[in-house]
């Protein structure tokens, strides 16, 4: 029997705020999406974007080779639960604390500036180091920042990066290679993704409308979320992880959502739960025409249309490589805020224009709670370009 795996603490920064309390307030108690118009790139008009406006901490001098926005966001999130992190390192020893983190951008923003400088001046700026843009740089920065020497690596599968990390990290605990793992992700706004998604015609000029008949693309966001993962069962358990591949196309999902269905099915099977036991599903729900169509079909086939669902992407934008971790954090916060009235559910924000050609999923409204006798079962989906899918299941113990 595998030991239980718990997510015992959280640090988070995104367009809703830079601590869990503020993020929770703007997600549930006083919902207020955090998108702001971001200056246009080249000739593109400004578009709503999940930019983090808070001042970010600097990177320590000893880690200047890793100085980039992505790592500053990571530091901001890590500092949010630094006493729990320090406690884990002190009680277990640095070589027993691992790091498994996801990103799709790493510090490519720093590389953009560096390449521009190189084209104009013929040299790189003195502040640039390749480790800022290297994908492995996020894990290495977190490892060095926390002064730990357990296994430390980055998983980089685009939009499912920081969901797959939960499976990787769990294996380290189950095999007793680590006593604690720092798991999560960080992604930062940069010209490459803003221009790239524009070039793919996947960016909406409005706040996004997941599941709407008017949906026309994503808002890009940035931010970071990290958990402390340890053996144990509380306060929130990582109950299951499922993964699959679409084997379909580089930049569109399987239109029937077969990979998405397998991903969710495997996560529930891993958690020992049947689909009717799902309390709430956090949709990948990017508001692209293709994703929402295939995801709603997959959810309908597996779970039916009764399970309460929402996409939270209008609140924060699509955090790409950090989406999995940030949306897991929303599920964690829902479970942590259980009251006598039940589990509070993150609302689905959109224009209300149902797409009648899709299965009619039950989309959560503002201020909804669900009474759940026993453990609540929350699932979160992350589906990536290239067809790399991942679903995770979080549960609480069932008491208030």
């Amino acid at each position: 029997m595998e030991p239980d795996i718990a997510l015992t603490d959280l640090g988070i920064v995104n367009a809703l705020g830079d601590d869990p309390g503020t993020v929770w307030k703007r997600l549930f108690r006083d919902p207020e999406p955090g998108l702001k118009d971001y200056p246009g790139i080249n000739d593109f008009p400004p578009v709503p974007t999940g930019v983090v406006e808070a001042a970010l901490p600097e990177v320590p001098d000893r880690l200047s080779a890793f100085d980039c926005r992505n790592n500053r966001l990571a530091r901001a999130a890590l500092d949010g639960f630094e006493s729990a992190l320090r406690g884990a390192v002190e009680s277990h020893g640095p070589d027993r604390v691992g790091v498994v983190v996801g990103t799709s951008t790493s510090g490519v923003g720093a590389a953009e500036d560096a390449v521009e400088h190189w084209l104009q001046e013929g040299s790189l700026p003195a502040s640039f180091d390749y480790r800022q843009m290297e994908m492995g740089g996020l894990a290495e920065f977190v490892r060095r920042y926390l002064n730990v020497t357990g296994p430390a690596y980055t998983v980089s599968t685009s939009c499912s990066s920081s969901a797959k990390v939960f499976a990787s990290a769990r294996a380290l605990l189950r095999r007793d290679l680590c006593d604690a793992v720092v798991v999560g992700g960080s992604d930062s706004l940069c010209g490459l993704t803003l221009n790239g998604f524009h070039a793919l015609q996947l960016v909406s000029e409005e706040p996004c409308n997941p599941m709407s008949r008017r949906r026309d693309g994503i808002n890009i966001g940035e931010g970071a979320a990290f958990f402390l993962m340890e053996p144990g069962s509380g306060p929130v358990r990582l109950a299951g992880v499922g993964e699959s591949s679409d084997a379909h196309s580089m930049n569109a999902p399987d239109p029937e959502g077969r990979g998405a269905e397998i991903s969710m099915h495997e996560a529930l099977r891993d958690a020992g739960r049947t689909p009717d036991k799902v309390t709430y599903l956090n949709l990948h729900g990017t508001a692209t025409p293709h994703n929402d169509a295939m995801e709603s079909k997959a959810v309908d086939r597996l779970c039916g249309t009764e399970v309460p669902c929402s996409s939270t992407k209008r609140f924060t934008g699509h955090l790409l490589g950090a989406a999995g971790a940030v949306e897991a954090a929303f599920c964690w916060l829902m479970l942590r805020n259980r009251s006598e009235d039940g589990i509070p559910l993150a609302p689905h924000r959109w224009d209300g224009e149902r797409d009648e050609s899709l299965p009619g999923l039950t989309l959560v409204g503002d201020d909804e709670r669900r009474e759940v006798p026993g453990p609540a079962v929350l699932m979160s989906n992350s589906f990536a370009f290239g067809g790399h899918n991942c679903s995770i299941v979080l549960e609480d113990a069932g008491d208030v």
Partner: protein, 251 residues
């Protein structure tokens, strides 16, 4: 500590462009690492042309190794779990895009969607109709070791399903050239790892106590060192050092 078997392997380098060439080189005593350098380019015909014209050199090297590894083993590429390790990912595609951005040119949507490090893993699953879990692992000079570790984790979760572990990397060039390791070489390498009832090998990792600095790649990249160790049936354990110690041995 993990136990495992190796069900298949392959490699590709510009001087040893394929499994047979690499296998011949490995069998020589005192084989010269310079033989791995060369001018060959990976054969785009491994991949349907509508795909191959979009594939970078590092993707084609990795696909050659991955596909040949499956074809020369008894394991169907459709059935494996996949861990794709890479230090630099699609670095040349990315630098080209960054140059376009700097010149305020419109960037190519295809190049953008092929600039992510999971690009070759995605192509592999499309080519083999593989629906299984797939990960891409990046950990600097420790990318092979951590990819191997992730593969062991996948075998723990699904012991009946072998894992295809691939690494492909190209040299840093252009503005990034100063950051390249001395002697770094482009390569692709692939292994199929399994959990058997009587495994032949062990893999372990522990604290690095010698004040570890990152191992510079002045000889073979770790993935190719592993292949050489495995194919020459070297009885002494293979050890790599980074911020941790990694070792492979015969059970």
């Amino acid at each position: 500590m993990f136990e495992f078997d190796v069900l298949g392997w392959s490699a590709w380098t510009p001087g040893l462009p394929g499994r047979d060439a690499f296998g011949d080189w490995v069998r020589e005593d005192d084989a010269d690492p310079d033989a791995l350098q060369g001018e060959a380019e990976p054969d785009p015909q491994r991949v349907p042309s509508r795909m191959s014209r979009r594939c970078s050199g590092v993707t084609l090297m990795g696909l050659d190794a991955a596909l040949t590894c499956c074809e020369t083993s008894e394991v169907d590429g459709e059935t494996v779990q996949v861990v794709w390790a890479t230090q630099h990912g699609e670095i040349n595609v990315t630098v080209d895009l960054l140059e376009s951005l700097a010149r305020e040119e419109l960037i190519s949507p295809t190049a953008f969607s092929n600039s992510v490090p999971n690009t070759p893993a995605a192509y592999f699953t499309i080519l083999t109709d593989n629906r299984n879990p797939t990960r891409t692992v990046c950990a600097g000079a420790g990318s092979f070791a951590h990819g191997f570790l992730d593969a062991m984790g996948m075998l723990e979760d699904r012991p009946d399903q072998p894992v295809l572990l691939v690494q492909a990397d190209e040299r840093l060039s252009g503005p990034l050239e100063p950051f390249g390791s001395e002697g770094a070489m482009p390569f692709g390498a692939a292994l199929i790892l399994s959990r058997g009832s009587d495994p032949e090998f062990r893999f372990d990792t522990g604290a690095e106590t010698s004040g570890g600095t990152h191992q510079k790649t002045t000889t073979l990249p770790p993935a190719l060192r592993f292949l050489r160790w495995h194919l020459r049936e070297d009885q002494t354990p293979l050890e790599l050092r980074g911020h941790r110690r990694w070792s492979w041995s015969r059970a």
